[in-house]
């Protein structure tokens, strides 16, 4: 147990250091940071002085160490384009992204699981075939195309939903939420549906496959032989046993939701971190890019670590095997 834990944590730290290194080299070697900070008319002495002040003449390892120390205290410098500390910018935008991701995750689970259960139980009905076909189409539709179609139908044609922004927000200290206004919820609908659609199809297919698997097992046959009601068998026995992998995948996919929120936020002009990042990429705003890179890597690494550890707790078989990289399904 302890060795498994330590190995996992060490791995996570190595990955984070690698990402930090990438982010650091982007900062320092992709273009001259001094050039990005001073104006055209700065003299050679000014540049040399700034170079000294920024510590760019220090040995490599010292600079990298300083970068990591700064990153740990949330210090990523000042955005070239917006001229404001990157921490503030990200803290401002984070609630919007997290709320969008949370609503999408709930939506994907709330629609994907029932659909999957239905397709698993009634596998040959025309309706479940229909759902499966739709899900293949759903996989082929790029996120932004779904968003554009939704905007065209519900905002341009019907005028029913706002097509951009967050609507009304209420402030709790630094956290701005759109959960408390009708307007905010209306603005949430289309982005959340767009973002969750792919996850919904994924969860639906997974639940269906797991249900088909479980339905073949002996304990389901035995439950039938005992004369339990269909409802008790389907939901009490079968569904319960499919949920462990589903929750794992759903957890791992929170990272994917954050990544794909970049696209959704661009389509709907949702003022979150993704929009900030994509603007930073097109303006080559390195401090924001490297901060986002580190932040997203942190999210991914922590989710993976938590899921691996949870698996270890849930699945006793892993305690016998050596717990290498095979901790996950598939």
């Amino acid at each position: 147990m302890v060795s498994f834990l330590i190995r996992r944590v060490v791995q996570a730290i190595v990955v984070m250091l690698a990402v930090a290194f990438l982010s650091f080299s982007m900062f320092n070697y992709a273009g001259d940071p001094v050039n990005n900070m001073v104006g055209q008319e700065a003299t050679q002495e000014d540049r040399a002085e700034l170079r000294e002040r920024l510590g760019l003449n220090d040995p490599f390892l010292v600079q990298f160490g300083r970068f990591v120390a700064n990153a740990m205290s949330g210090e990523f410098g000042i955005s070239y384009q917006l001229q404001r500390p990157v921490v503030d910018l990200i803290a401002e935008r984070m609630p919007a992204t997290l709320e969008l991701v949370a609503v999408s995750a709930v939506l994907a689970l709330a629609t994907g699981i029932p659909l999957g259960v239905y397709c698993g139980i009634a596998r040959d009905s025309w309706l479940s075939r229909f759902f499966l076909t739709i899900s293949l189409v759903g996989v082929s539709l790029p996120t932004f195309v779904i968003g554009i179609f939704l905007i065209y139908i519900f905002a341009v044609q019907l005028g029913a939903l706002p097509s951009f922004g967050r609507g009304g927000v209420v402030e709790f200290g630094w956290w701005r939420t759109s959960f408390l206004t009708v307007d905010g919820w209306k603005s949430m609908i289309m982005p959340a549906v767009t973002l969750s659609l792919f996850q919904t199809t994924l969860i639906m297919r997974l639940v269906r496959a797991e249900m088909l698997e479980v339905m073949r097992t002996d304990y389901i046959k035995f439950a039938r032989a005992r004369g339990l009601s269909n409802r008790a068998i389907n939901f009490g026995h079968a569904l319960k046993n499919t949920l462990v992998p589903v929750i794992t995948i759903a957890g791992l996919n929170i990272g994917a939701l954050i990544a794909f929120s970049i696209i959704t936020e661009t389509v709907f002009q949702w003022p979150g971190m993704g929009l900030l990042f994509i603007q930073a990429v097109s303006f080559a705003d390195v401090p924001i890019m490297s901060a986002y890179l580190v932040l997203v890597a942190l999210v991914f690494v922590s989710i993976n670590l938590i899921v691996d550890l949870l698996y270890y707790v849930v699945d006793p078989r892993l305690k016998v095997d050596r717990g290498t990289s095979a901790g996950r399904v598939n």
Binding site: A30, S140, V145, V156, A256, I263, T266, A284, M289
Partner: protein, 314 residues
Amino acid sequence: MATTPDTPNTAPGLIARVRDSDLWFSFTRSPVVMVAAAITAFYFLAAIFAPLVAPQKPFDPANLSLADSFTAPAWTEDGLPQYLLGTDDQGRDILSTLIYGARISLLVGFAAVIFSACLGIALGVTAGYVGGSFEAIVMRTADVQLTVPGILVALMIDGVARTAMPRELHDQIAIYVVIFAIGVSDWPQYARVTRGATLVEKGKEYVQAARVMGIHPLLIMLRHIMPNVMSPVLVLATIGLALAIIAEATLSFLGVGVPPTTPSLGTLIRIGNNFLFSGEWWITFFPCLALVGLVLSVNLLGDWLRDALNPRLR
């Protein structure tokens, strides 16, 4: 091999072999796949012969008349017969931009798939054959990268390239940057599959015989192992093509893909998106439709290929 002895040249033998194969059999049995193959072939031909089939040269300013901009599709009231799908804000014929756009999309998609397949196969086969710490490093990197969505990796590479190069240079080579970014984001799939297959092949007698004969390891990997690990790669590459086309379209839609001077389907959607609210729906609708049609048919082909080549499903 059931080639008949009385066929002197190889061409009829090849056709006969294709006709007798399981793949062809399952192909003729599923109408959906045949339609998908026809649509894909249609896209390919249109893209290859773009200058011949497109009604207009959309990116030659001499050809455009601004007076014709924002013309609706031909079947609507305001449409003009020479512009079947209407025109955009510059007076470019939408159908022609679609044909040229599909050309760029397919080009980038293919190049990215070839690049990531080469990278993945090279790393995977070498990792499987050499083993040791090289294998450990390659496979750990692949594992870590697989947990991150490909589009994020591609975005990061694109962003770094943007910072590292001056603007003019970047605009010139943007298309190669996109190919590189998408290619790098997808290599772990190929590496995993080929490494697994290499581990199996490595233990077989023909490889051991080659080794005993003193053939150079590089040659063994290239000439003996690689041909035998390629069939799963074909399936991966087909599905990878659909993914690469989506990735390119997404990058271009986000404004960080191929430059607007050589627009792909994604760029066209990005341009058209600006006119969605003023009622010119066709500027963005047809590129969306073209993209979805292409991706869906390639996906269907990939799904079919995976099932048809998988002996466990027979």
